[in-house]
Amino acid sequence: MTAKSGKAFGILVTFCALFLFWLLLSGHFDTFHLTAGIICSAIVALISHDLLVKGKGEKMLLKSFRFVIYLGWELWQILLANFDVAYRVLHPKMPIDPRIIEFETSVRSDFALVTLANSITLTPGTITILVDREKGKFWVHAIAKKPADALLVDKTMQKKVADVYMEG
């Protein structure tokens, strides 16, 4: 895909997403609201298309599909995370042993780093503190030894995210 057609593709995708969003939020389908929506979406799409679709859109569909599957697993992890926190908070002795851990990953792109950082924050007992973009290094605060080991030893989440964005 050339740079020019890639740019047009980015503008088109952004425009469609924005206009769909406009329709769903407004709920009015008369001429005035539709025209206003088209004009607004077009202006925003022209100015900020590179925010949503970065340059080359290669394998976008496949990545989106893998991402949806990953979301299912992630939702289950969020449920586990909340039961984990509820258990630790409501237990009379509060079984916590907080620590800060560091590890490096193979992912580099912005989307992959954001996904991984937010996933770490949402899953049991861990919150991302800092991310180094160049080295793919993460500083994570873990509430006990077990969730820390899940990131340091098993590395399930890092593998899954790297798999979704094909940056293994």
Partner: protein, 110 residues
């Protein structure tokens, strides 16, 4: 049919309130800044999402003539899932950069 939906809605709301409650208990009981963020950052996300999901179901079956309201609630859920961990991370980073000392096992409560 409507009775079953009402029961499901109530389960969603009750679960949401339970998780918000644990979030508050955690905020009060846990020893330091970082561990308190664990309680509020996670429990708030699921608590809010469950409550909104309950409202979404309720609206969908009681007021089917305005189907756009559930869609807007769905948008709210998506934005909470994106914004909540990001905000938690931002607060955490600010505390870490300004040198708030993390609590270790065995320390006295702050």
């Amino acid at each position: 049919m409507v009775e079953i939906i009402e029961i499901i809605v109530m389960i969603f709301l009750a679960a949401g309130i339970f998780f918000m409650f644990t979030g508050v208990v955690g905020l009060l009981r846990l020893p330091d800044f970082y561990t308190r963020l664990h309680a509020t950052g996670k429990c708030d996300t699921l608590g809010e999402v469950l409550i909104i999901a309950g409202l979404l179901l309720y609206h969908l079956f009681h007021y089917p003539e305005t189907p756009l309201v559930p869609v807007k609630l769905l948008f709210l859920i998506i934005f909470i899932f994106l914004a909540n961990p990001t905000a938690t991370h931002a607060i955490m980073k600010a505390a870490y950069n300004t040198g708030v000392k993390p609590w270790k096992k065995g320390d006295a409560r702050m």
